[in-house]
C-alpha cells in the first residue's frame, strides 16, 4: 500500500470533501456549513455585541454617580469643551470606578489585538 503513494492520491479524493467533520448531514453541510454558521453567530455576538457592551460598562464605571459635580455635567452637555476637567473630576471622584473602567478597556483592547492577530496569522 505504501508503495503506491503516487496513484494512491487519485484514490483519496473521497477524503478531501469530508474535511475534518464529515460525520453528520453531508447533504446539508455541502450547502451550508452549519458548524461555521453557529460559531459565527455565537462568537460574533460575544465579540460584536459583547465588547461594545463591555466598553459601555467601562464608560459607566468612569462616570459612576457619587461625584457631586456629576449633575453639572448634564448641564454642560451642550459644550464638548472641558473634557479634561470632566475626566479629572471623575477619576478623583471614584477610584473603584476607575479601576473597573480601566479593566474593561484593557479587555476590549486585548480583544482587538487578538482580532488583528487573527487577520495576520489566520489566513
Amino acid at each position: 500500500m505504501s508503495t503506491t503513494s503516487g496513484p494512491g492520491r487519485s484514490l483519496r479524493p473521497s477524503q478531501n470533501p469530508q474535511g475534518s467533520d464529515g460525520d453528520k448531514g453531508e447533504n446539508v453541510n455541502s450547502w451550508i456549513n452549519l458548524t461555521a454558521l453557529w460559531q459565527i453567530v455565537v462568537v460574533g455576538l460575544l465579540a460584536g455585541a459583547g465588547l461594545p457592551a463591555l466598553f459601555a460598562v467601562g464608560l459607566r464605571a468612569l462616570n459612576t454617580p457619587g461625584s457631586r459635580v456629576q449633575t453639572a455635567g448634564a448641564g454642560a452637555a451642550g459644550g464638548m469643551t472641558g473634557t479634561d476637567t470632566e475626566s479629572g473630576r471623575v477619576y478623583g471622584g471614584n477610584p473603584m470606578g476607575l479601576a473597573i473602567g480601566v479593566l474593561c478597556f484593557a479587555i476590549v483592547l486585548a480583544a482587538i489585538g487578538y482580532g488583528i492577530y487573527l487577520i495576520v496569522a489566520g489566513t
Binding site: 455541502s30 450547502w31 451550508i32 456549513n33 461555521a36 454558521l37 460559531q39 459565527i40 453567530v41 462568537v43 460574533g44 455576538l45 465579540a47 460584536g48 455585541a49 459583547g50 465588547l51 461594545p52 457592551a53 466598553f55 459601555a56 460598562v57 464608560l59 459607566r60 468612569l62 462616570n63 454617580p65 456629576q70 455635567g73 448634564a74 454642560a76 452637555a77 451642550g78 459644550g79 464638548m80 473634557t83 470632566e86 471623575v90 482587538i112 482580532g115 488583528i116 487573527l118 487577520i119 495576520v120 489566520g122 489566513t123
Partner: protein
C-alpha cells in the same frame, strides 16, 4: 507581443476595478463615523485609506481564490478575465451614481461568471460552489450582522443610560473610531486580495506564471495602492446613503454597527468565507436602528439596496458576457482594445453625470431628503 499588450490592458483594468472597489466601500467602514461627527469626512477617508493599505499587506497568502471553486479555471482566458472586470466596473460605477451600496465582490464574481459562460458555456461554472460560497452567505450575512448590531445597541443604551450625554458621546466616538478602523483593516485584507487573485489568474491564464502560483510582489503592491487610493477618494454618494439614508445614527450606535461588522467579517474570513463587506455593513447599520427604541429605520431605502443586491450578479454577468462577446467577435487585441475604449467611455459618462448632483466631503452630512444628492443646489465642489 499581442498577448503581452492584452495582459497589460487586463492589469490596468483590474487596478481600475480595485480603485472602484475602494471608493465604493469607504462607506462600509467610515459612513457611521462621518455621520456622527466622530471623524471629519476628510480625516475619515484618509484613515481608512491608510488602514486599507496596511490591511492589504497584512495577509500575504494570496492565490487566485476568487475564481477557483466558482468556475473551471482552466477554461478562463485573459480575455475572459478582462470582460469580467469590465462587468464589475460598470456595475460598481452605476450603483455608485445611484448612491447604492452594493457588493464589489458580487460585481466581480458576476462579471467573471458571465464572461466564462459566454466563452465556454454553462458547464464551466461550478454552480454548487456559487450557491454555497457566494449566494447563501450573502443572504445570511446581513441578517447575522443585523442581529448582532441590534443586540449590541440595545445593551449599550441600557448600560449607558445613566451617563451624561456629553460623556457618552465623547466616549463612544472614540470607540467608534477604533471599531471603524478594524473594519477598514479587514476590508483591505479581504478585498485587495480579490483583485490580487484576479491579476494572478490572468498571469496564469497568459502562461506568465505557473498554475497555482502566488501573487508576485508587484501585484500585491499595486493592488494595495489602488484600493487605498480609491478609499481615500471616498465614494461620498454611498457614504451618504449608508450614514444618513438608512438610520439617523448616534455615536453609540456607530460603535455598535462597526463592532458587529468587524466581528462578522473577521470571523467569516476565518472560516474561509469571503463575504461582502457591504452586505455586512448594511445589515449592521439597519441593526442599530432596530436595536434603539424610537429610532427611525428607512426600510424603503434598505429595500432599494436589497433589490440592487439581487441584480448585482445577473447584471454584472450580462455585461461581462456582452463584453466578452464583443471582444470575441472583433477578435484578438483589437477586440480587447475596443472593449477598453467603450469601458472608458461609459466610465467617463457616468462620472460626468455624477457631477450634476455632486456629493462630496462638504455636503455628505446634509439632512437626508430622500435623494442621494442633497436637494439644495450646490455649486459643484471638488
Amino acid at each position: 507581443m499581442t498577448k503581452d499588450l492584452i495582459l497589460a490592458l487586463v492589469v490596468v483594468t483590474a487596478l481600475g476595478f480595485d480603485f472602484t472597489n475602494g471608493f465604493h466601500d469607504t462607506g462600509n467602514a467610515m459612513a457611521t463615523s462621518i455621520a456622527t461627527g466622530a471623524l471629519g469626512p476628510r480625516t475619515a477617508v484618509a484613515l481608512s485609506g491608510v488602514l486599507n493599505l496596511v490591511g492589504a499587506f497584512l495577509s500575504l497568502s494570496v492565490a487566485a481564490t476568487i475564481a477557483s471553486g466558482l468556475v473551471q479555471t482552466h477554461l478562463v482566458t485573459v480575455t475572459v478575465v478582462f470582460a469580467g472586470l469590465a462587468g464589475g466596473i460598470i456595475w460598481n460605477l452605476l450603483t455608485w451614481l445611484l448612491g447604492i451600496p452594493s457588493s464589489s465582490s458580487h460585481a466581480l464574481i458576476g462579471g467573471v461568471i458571465g464572461a466564462t459562460i459566454a466563452a465556454a458555456g454553462g458547464h464551466a461554472v461550478k454552480w454548487h460552489g456559487l450557491v454555497s460560497k457566494v449566494i447563501i452567505p450573502a443572504g445570511l450575512s446581513p441578517v447575522i450582522a443585523l442581529l448582532i448590531a441590534a443586540t449590541g445597541t440595545w445593551l449599550i443604551y441600557r448600560i449607558s443610560r445613566n451617563i451624561s450625554n456629553a460623556s457618552r458621546t465623547h466616549g463612544f466616538r472614540l470607540g467608534q473610531i477604533g471599531s471603524a478602523s478594524m473594519v477598514s483593516l479587514a476590508h483591505g485584507t479581504n478585498d485587495a486580495q480579490k483583485t490580487m487573485g484576479v491579476i494572478t489568474l490572468a498571469l496564469i491564464a497568459n502562461g506568465t506564471l505557473a498554475s497555482g502560483s502566488k501573487a508576485p510582489f508587484w501585484v500585491i503592491l499595486t493592488c494595495a495602492l489602488a484600493i487605498s487610493l480609491g478609499t481615500y477618494v471616498g465614494g461620498w454618494r454611498v457614504i451618504r446613503t449608508l450614514g444618513k439614508g438608512l438610520v439617523e445614527i448616534e455615536s453609540p450606535q456607530g460603535m455598535a454597527a462597526e463592532s458587529a461588522s468587524a466581528a462578522v467579517i473577521l470571523l467569516s474570513s476565518h472560516f474561509g468565507y469571503s463575504l461582502s463587506t457591504t452586505h455586512v455593513a448594511t445589515g449592521s447599520i439597519l441593526g442599530v436602528g432596530v436595536g434603539k427604541k424610537g429610532a427611525e429605520v428607512r426600510w424603503n431605502v434598505a429595500g432599494r439596496m436589497a433589490t440592487a443586491w439581487l441584480f448585482t450578479l445577473p447584471i454584472a454577468a450580462v455585461v461581462g458576457a456582452g463584453s466578452y462577446g464583443l471582444a470575441h467577435v472583433i477578435g484578438g487585441l483589437a477586440g480587447v482594445i475596443v472593449d477598453f475604449v467603450i469601458l472608458i467611455g461609459i466610465a467617463g459618462g457616468i462620472y460626468l453625470r455624477s457631477r450634476k448632483t455632486a456629493v462630496s466631503a462638504h455636503n455628505v452630512n446634509d439632512e437626508w431628503t430622500g435623494t442621494v444628492a442633497p436637494s439644495e443646489p450646490e455649486p459643484a465642489g471638488v
